[in-house]
Each structure stands twice: as C-alpha cells, then as structure tokens.
C-alpha cells in the first residue's frame, strides 16, 4: 500500500480545497493548478488525488457534477460546498498555526 500519513492527506485536502475556492474544476485541472502555482514544487499523485476527492465528496466538503472541459471533453467537475468552505477555513488556520510554530522553533534554534 502507498504510504498515506495523516499529514500528507491533511495537506492534500487543504491544497485541493484551496484550489477549488476559485471555482469548480476537474481532477486533472487541480493537479495542474497546484503544480503551476507552487512553481513545480508540489506534485499531486493521481494515486492519492482521486481517492482523496471521493473521500471529500463522501464527507460533504465538495460536490461533483459532470461537465464539459475547455476542450469539449466530458469531465467530472468538483465544487466547494458550504461545509467545505468551513473546513477550508479550519485547515488554513491549522496550517498557519503549524507553520508559525515550526518557524518559531527554527528561529529559536538560531
């Protein structure tokens, strides 16, 4: 089985939710967006992305509907729900706290 640590999964959810905040998007578009915005630093594995998307759908954070892509292909578009927005805010706060904490540890060490 692929390693799926909580941190990784948690971060993936945060990235996906944040990406979807801009509007509905399909899975491939999400990978492209994250890759591009992070200047190719973050690459989303397909193997993790789709299970994660379906799990978030199950949890009610996002909803899915079939749509037509830019180049006229049928694709599954994901959209943030109200619950998902709340979750995103929560995760952003957690992330900020975590990075701040890590940052202060690093500064202290210097």
């Amino acid at each position: 089985m692929k390693p799926k640590s909580d941190v990784l999964q948690g971060t993936l959810a945060l990235l996906v939710l944040k990406t979807l905040e801009r509007g509905a998007m399909h899975g491939y578009g999400i990978t492209l967006h994250i890759q591009r915005v992070s200047s190719e630093v973050l690459r989303v594995e397909e193997g993790s992305l789709y299970p994660a998307l379906h799990r978030m759908e199950q949890d009610g954070w996002i909803s899915a509907a079939w749509g037509v892509s830019e180049n006229n292909r049928r694709a599954r578009y994901y959209q943030l729900t109200a619950k998902g927005r709340k979750q995103l805010a929560e995760e952003e706060k957690n992330w900020a706290r975590l990075t701040a904490a890590v940052g202060s540890v690093l500064q202290f060490a210097q």
């Binding site: 089985m1 399909h26 899975g27 491939y28 492209l32 594995e45 397909e46 193997g47 789709y50 299970p51 994660a52 998307l53 379906h54 799990r55 759908e57 199950q58 892509s69 180049n71 292909r73 049928r74 694709a75 599954r76």
Partner: protein
C-alpha cells in the same frame, strides 16, 4: 449518511464504477493531450500519462473504496467469495458452524442467567439506595442477630442516613377461606414497606403510613400469582376477607405481576403482605433488649454513599453500646452493618455463576482454536492462490480483509445459529437450573445478552480468523510461487503458529479439567458425607398450625392442646398401611424446615447451670422439638443416655438431648449428661435436664458443620411447625393423599405441603452443586476431546508434510523407534508446554473457587496431579497414531516422490 441513502447507494454501484472509470480516462486523455502539446509523440504521451497513474486497477479500487458504496460493494464481493469458499468444503463448514453454534449457544444461555441475576439492577426505583441491614455480634462470632423496636427507631431517627427502614418478617402462613387450605409465604413489614420499594399496585391500593397502627392493621396486599390462583383474577377481590393463620385481613390491593419480595422466603415467592407496627399487641412492649425483629431493609437518603452510611452506623452502634451497657454486653461488640440489597440477594450464587461463565468462555475459545487449526491447514493449501493474487498486485491488507471476511462470515453464521438455539431452548435449559437460584424468573434474552453473544461471535471469529489471515498475507511471494506445489516440509512459520494454537488449547483444557475436578470431588465428598442418619425409606410431610394474632382464635393454645394434636396425628400416621414408624419434628434435617430459620439459622440464646450469667450472651443453640420415635425413624445413633419417651410430657421434669457439637462446645471437659440448660433469659422458665447425647445430624445442609443442636420433647415444648417423618417402603407420591386426608380429618383448615422422600431432600440440597459440577465436567470432557483432536490433527499434518524427510532418515539408517520418538516427542513437548501453562494459571486462580468447595482444598494435590496426567495420557494417545503412521513411511516411495 442515512441507512436509506446507503441502500439507495447499493443500487448505484454500477454507475459509480462507470463514473470512476470515465473520470480517470478523462484525466489520462487530458494529460496525454498536454504531453503532445509539449512535444511528445502520441505514444510516448500516453505511456507517460499511464506511468503517472501507476497501477490503474488499484487506483480505481482505492478511489471506489472511498465511496461507501464502493466499500459495501467490495465487502459484498468478499462475502460472495467467502460463501463460495465455504460451500466448496461443506464438511468443514458444517462442523465449524455446529461447534460454533453450540459454543455461542452455551455462552448465550449462561450469560442470559448471569445478566439477569448479577448484572441487572433490582427492579425497584433507585435500586442502588436499597440496603439490607444486619446486626452483628462479632465478639461472640454471631452475624445477623435479631433486633428490637427501639433499635429500629434508632435507625430511622438517630442515624440520619436512611430515608426509610422496614423490618421484614418473612414466614410460613396458613391461608384458609379458599378452596384448599394452602401454606404460603408471607411478609410482614412496616407500613412504609411498599413506599420504600416504590411499588405501584395493579388494582386497589397499598398500605402506607396513613394506615399506621402500633400493633397491626388488618389489611392485606396479595401477589398477582395468588390473585389469579385463588380468586381467578377477579377485579372485585378488593374488600374481601382473607384468613391468614386464622386471623381475618381485608384485601386492599393486588401487586403488579413482576413484583417480588427482595429477600429470602421459605420456598417460593411471598404472596401475602401485611403491615405491622411491631410495638403493641401481638408484639411484646418495645424494650431495647426485647429483640424480636429478624431482618431489615432500608433506603438510604439521596446523596448518602454506602461508605458514609456505614461509618455513621458504626459510630451510632458505639454510642448505643456506651449509653446502654446492660443491653449491649461489651464482649459481644454489637454493631450494625449494611450491604447493597442486590449483593445480599445474589452474592451467594455469584462464584458459581462466574465459574460457569468462565467455563463456557473457555469452551468457545477452545472451539475457535480448533477451527483456527483447520483454517490454517486450509490456508496452507491456499498459499498459491494468495501468492498469485499478490503477484497480480493485490495488497496484503486486501488479502487479510478477504480472509477475515471469510472467518467472520463463518463465526456470524455460527453465532446466529447459537443465539437461535439458545433462544429456542432457554426455557428447557432453565428447567435444569437449580430453582433456588434467585431472580430466575427475570432471565430472558435481551439486547445486552444479544450484544454479548455478538461480541463472543466476533471475538471467536477474530481468534480463529486472524492467525490464518495474517499467515497467508505474510507468505513470502517468491517462496510460495517457487515451492507452492510440492509440500516441501513443515514450514516454520505455519508450524510455530499452529504450535501456539495447540499449546493454548491444551492450557485451556487443563484449566477446565482442574475446575471440574475440584467441583466433582466436592460433590463426591458431599454424597459420601454421613448425614448422621439414614435417609432411605423415609417420607416427610409438613403442616403449619398457624399463629393467630388473636390468642382466642388459636385451637392449639398451650402445651396440653398441642400435645393432644400431636398424639392424634402420630396415631393416624402409624395407622396408614405401609408406615412402620412415625415421628414429629419442628425442623427436618438438611433443609431445616423451621420457618424461623429462613435464609439461615434460628439460633436461640441459652443459659447453662453452673455458668456465670454474664457469659450467657454468647451461648446459643438451634432448638428442635421432636416426638419420642424421631431418632428411630431417622436411625440416628444415640451415643449415651436415653431417648425421649411418651412419659416426657407436660408437668414432668423437662428433658433434652444434645448432639456431639453441643457437647463439645459447651462441656468440652465435663460429662453433659444430667446437667441443665434453659432457653432465653427468663429466670422463671424451668431448667431442662440433659438425658442423652446423639451423633451429629446435618440439619442445615450436608456442607454445614458444627452447629450446636438441642432436642427437646414436643410434648413439653410445643411447636407450630409440624414436620412428619415416616419410616416406610412406600414412595412419597403414593402416601401423599393419605397423609393429607389424615391431617385434614383432624383439622380441615390445615395445609399439607412438601410431601417428599428424605432422599429427595438430600438430592435437592445438592442440586446447584450437581448442576455446576456436571456442567463444568461436561465442558472439561469436551475440551479434552477437542484438544486431542487438535493435537492429532497437528501431528498428522506434520507427518504428511515431512514424509519425504522421514523417508530420507529411514533410508539413511534411522530406526523406526527414532521416528516414533521424533513425532511423539513433538506431541509431548507441546502438550507439556500447554499443560504447564494451564497449571500455572489454575494454581494462581484456584482460590477464587474456595467458596464453591467443601472438603477439598482449592489446591487439592490429587486434582492438580490427576488432571494434567490424564490430559498428558490423552495427548500421548492422540500423538501415537500419527507417529505410528510415520514409522510406516516407505523410504523408497518417499524418495521417489521427491
């Protein structure tokens, strides 16, 4: 997600599958398109997209699994596959399900009893605040002594911890004015008895403080059972008069069906409840030293803990001892103790029930270990299947899940069958449960029992499923594929796992054997115990003359009236054809039929001549009134002196016969014959001269020793409890109509009850011991059988797997004896390990069984020697067959096969 949408989801499985597939395909194509745009060749672009996906089947599965629908679908698939696997080997499946059904069924049945008796709260509001109150005199070794009305008042007013207290006076009562005079159990409580318990009547009302009278109020509340039996459930029963021991009472209410008096009764349930004030006629004036009350129940104030209440009562007892030194002699150390009511009702049977529960749990685990062994053997056969699935990309977790689904399916089918069996046969099983077990009428299969049965099923499923499941997932891919086809040896991993299973199975078996051994030895000791009399050819019957509150209503008042009745009764009994001898007693042996002895002893204080008065407090004995031929009927042994004669009657010198226990206790170094005793503290009573000494008669039960008894002549000291003992070769059921007819010809208002042979009395007194000993014994036998099958199966499997190696050894010159030793040695080592582990566990826990044993110490050397030895012999026999087969391996054939 609601259940409904889940179900709806099931219908969407197909669509989900298509959706996921299409979604992933769209992703692939978009990636490929971008790749082409970035300058790759179309083929390269597709490969790259595909490569990024990795194992696309796995991804699809993972993605689908995220949806509940997908999860259910996978489980459904596994279940279907599991069901197919189970159908493929029907023999194994049927044996496994049947043994599991038996195991889980036995667990369900025993647990339903444990649940009702031990776990359920008593069926009253706030049952945790109800306590039983005991008065003890630890200084003279007495527990649960009687108490007086002023002491009762102290509990209510001075202690400050009770919301309410009611004395309880349980007893045998004659019910007349109905079709057939009946002897029933009645409860006399205070006016607040029902409000304290929080009962609501079915019809009418219950007596309460507003009815208060210092002596008694002529009001009666009857049980649902009596209402249906004697009044045909007539709603107009209210206001009717009921005669109890000759006194008229007015029925004011009927109790609800489920109500039971929370205390000991002489036989069945209490059926008539009457209120008393306990301080005026028919009771003596309330003096602190006039201790007439037998037992008490109290309800603690809300918020008062048991500990706080106990502390307060201990302090109060000390204050009272200080304030009234003449009523509380210092050497008695009189004190008050409270216990949760539930504890006093069921505390005695707890050890037995827990031992039974432990035994059934052990059995179900032995069963599941056996199934685990079978599954492991099958798992070895399925190594290749697993290896191939692994090679095709199945994850190990997925394989474990598949295997676990199989064993869970098996255990749940077995469990459901077990629950169904238990539910269907519970009524039948309960008939074999000794009826003196409290709260048996509350036994039913409720959701707690169902949850327990489910838990046991799941646990057994885990026990027998986890080992093979983990085992198959750990199979090394290369090894399984390489050597999968030919049994190449006794694989160490499977081997070790199977060894562990066998060792634990034997350990469990030996624990059960030790337990069964101790219980069976106790039973055998009790059966061989000399009761002090010969119970064969003795038939007993009982009647109760009644104690009316109004002395004028008593036809047998005083000594002469009662003696006339006794003589007439004996004359009529002896005239029954087939009766050789007849005698009367106030308390039959073994059960102590004396109604004053409900739930214990009715030891009375006595004074002994030539002993200082101040020490008279700690002198007590059980007084039994008998007619002259009593010892002849029982064939008890008179050691010295004489028996009673017809001449020992009113107006003559009062005489007594004591037993050895009394002689040893009160005249350890003197001859008791000719010495004098007196019951009670009343100095005007005459002294009674001891004229004989008999060997001890076990009057309170085969397992109770050393109670001092003093027998007096029924013609000098009359008794309202009249038990008849007849020496006859006729059976009790044949004599019953004649006995009833003769007694009711004297007085048609007398009930005749419990006409049974003395042998049956002895037998019944051992019912619960026999029940638990037989049950644990049967479980132990089953455990030995299962363990021997297990060890046989293991060794047979090992011999089969190693036949090539054995052939090689034989070809190289090993002797048959060496081979025999090799196989049997393994069996012995495993058995030895298991037995040793089991013995260590037994030795460390045996003392918890102490209260169930009699005449046998918890670490009885015989049991601790015989049980392991027996199991070792069985293990040796079980390993001999495969070992003997191993010696028959043909070296040529074995080598050629290789």
């Amino acid at each position: 997600m609601s259940l409904l949408s889940r179900l709806a989801g099931l219908l969407k499985i197909r669509r989900l599958e298509r959706d996921v597939e299409e979604e992933l395909r769209a992703h692939l194509e978009m990636r490929a398109q971008d790749n082409v745009a970035a300058g790759m060749s179309p083929q390269e672009a597709r490969y790259d997209a595909q490569r990024r996906f990795g194992n696309s089947t796995l991804l699809k599965e993972d993605t689908r699994a995220m949806d509940i629908v997908g999860w259910i679908e996978t489980t459904g698939q596994d279940l279907r596959y599991a069901a197919r696997m189970l159908r493929r080997s029907p023999g194994f499946t049927i044996v496994a399900i049947l043994t599991l059904a038996l195991g889980v069924g036995a667990n369900t049945a025993i647990f339903s009893i444990v649940n009702a008796v031990l776990l359920h709260s008593l069926p009253y509001p706030d049952p945790d605040r109800l306590v039983r109150i005991f008065f003890n005199e630890p200084g003279v070794g007495l527990r649960d002594v009687r108490f007086s009305k002023p002491e009762l008042d102290d509990l209510l007013t001075r202690a400050g911890v009770f919301e309410d207290v009611s004395p309880i006076y349980e007893g045998s009562e004659n019910l007349t004015g109905v079709k057939q005079p009946e002897r029933i159990d009645g409860v006399n409580g205070s006016f607040s008895y029902f409000s304290m318990l929080g009962v609501i009547p079915q019809i009418g009302r219950l007596f309460g403080p507003q009815d208060f009278a210092p002596g008694f109020a002529p009001l009666a509340v009857i049980s649902d059972g009596l209402w249906r039996r004697a009044y045909g459930a007539d709603p107009n029963v209210l206001g009717r008069t009921i005669r109890i021991d000759g006194d008229p009472f007015t029925i004011i209410g009927v109790l609800p069906r489920g109500f039971r008096h929370p205390g000991p009764t002489t036989s069945g349930d209490a059926e008539v409840f009457c209120p008393f004030g306990f301080s005026a006629d028919p009771f003596p004036p309330p003096m602190r030293g006039t201790r007439i009350l037998k037992s008490g129940i109290g309800r603690l104030k809300p918020g008062v803990t048991l500990k706080q209440a106990q502390a307060r009562l201990t302090t109060m007892a000390a204050e009272l001892r200080h304030d009234f030194p003449t009523d509380y002699p210092p050497q008695a150390q009189w004190t008050i103790e409270i216990q949760p009511l539930q504890e006093t009702l069921v505390g005695k049977v707890r050890p037995m029930l827990l031992v039974l529960l432990g035994a059934v749990i052990l059995i179900v685990f032995i069963v599941s270990l056996n199934i685990a062994n079978l599954l492991l053997a099958r798992a070895s056969g399925r190594q290749q299947e697993m290896a191939v699935r692994l090679a095709l990309g199945a994850s190990r977790g997925r394989l474990v899940r598949q295997m676990l689904t199989e064993s869970m399916l098996l255990s749940l089918i077995g469990g459901a069958a077990g629950i169904a069996t238990a539910a269907g046969t519970l009524g039948f099983i309960l008939r074999y449960v000794p009826s003196n077990l409290p709260r048996l009428n509350e036994v039913r299969i409720d959701w707690v029992v169902l949850a327990f049965a489910l838990l046991i099923s799941i646990l057994t499923g885990l026990v027998f499923g986890l080992a093979p499941a983990l085992h198959s997932a750990k199979v090394a891919l290369y090894a399984a594929i390489r050597e999968g086809s030919v049994g190449s040896g006794y694989g160490t991993k499977t081997g070790r796992l199977r060894d562990v299973l066998i060792v634990s199975e034997l350990a469990f078996a030996v624990i059960l054997m030790v337990g069964a051994g101790l219980l069976l030895r106790t039973l055998r000791d009790l059966l061989q115990e000399n009761p002090g009399f010969s119970p064969t050819q003795v038939v007993t019957a009982n009647t109760w003359l009644g104690v009316p509150n109004d002395p004028k209503a008593d036809p047998y008042l005083g000594i002469p009236g009662k003696a006339a009745f006794d003589r007439e009764l004996l004359r009529r009994m002896k005239a029954i054809p087939g009766v050789e001898l007849a005698a009367i007693t106030s308390a039959l042996p073994i059960t102590n039929s004396n109604p004053n002895a409900v739930g214990g002893l009715a030891m009375e204080g006595l004074a002994i001549q030539d002993r200082p008065v101040e020490s008279s407090q700690d002198l007590r004995a059980e007084r039994i009134r008998i007619s002259p031929d009593y010892f002849k009927v029982l064939q008890a042994t008179l050691l010295r002196g004489r028996s009673f004669t017809e001449g020992d009657e009113n107006g003559k010198q009062p005489v007594a016969i004591i037993d050895e226990s009394t002689a040893r206790k009160y005249w350890p170094d003197r001859e008791p014959l000719g010495r004098q005793v007196r019951f009670g503290k009343d100095p005007t009573q005459p002294w009674i001269t001891i004229v004989g000494i008999i060997k001890d008669i076990k009057n309170e039960g085969l397992d109770i020793d050393g109670v001092p008894h003093i027998f007096v002549s029924v013609y000098q000291d009359p008794s309202k409890q009249v038990s008849v003992a007849l020496r006859t070769s006729l059976p009790a059921n044949l004599l019953e109509p004649q006995i009833r007819h003769e007694i009711q010809s004297i007085d048609p208002g007398l009930p005749v009850f419990n006409v049974v042979s003395m042998n049956d009395i002895l037998d019944r007194s051992l019912a619960s011991r026999r029940f638990s000993a037989d049950l644990v014994g049967a479980f132990a036998g089953l455990a030995v059988l299962l363990a021997s099958i297990g060890i046989y199966g293991l060794l047979a499997y090992m011999v089969g797997q190693r036949s090539r190696e054995i052939g090689l050894r034989l070809a190289l010159g090993a002797q048959r004896a060496d081979v025999l030793r090799l196989v049997m040695g393994r069996g012995v080592v495993l058995a030895g390990l298991g037995i040793a582990a089991g013995m260590i566990f037994s030795a460390s826990t045996a003392s918890t069984m102490a209260s169930l044993l009699y005449g046998v110490r918890p670490h009885d050397p015989a049991v601790f020697l015989v049980a392991p030895l027996l199991l070792l012999i069985v293990a040796l026999l079980a390993s001999y067959i495969p070992a003997w087969r191993a010696t028959k391996v043909d070296p040529i054939a074995a080598l050629r096969e290789a």
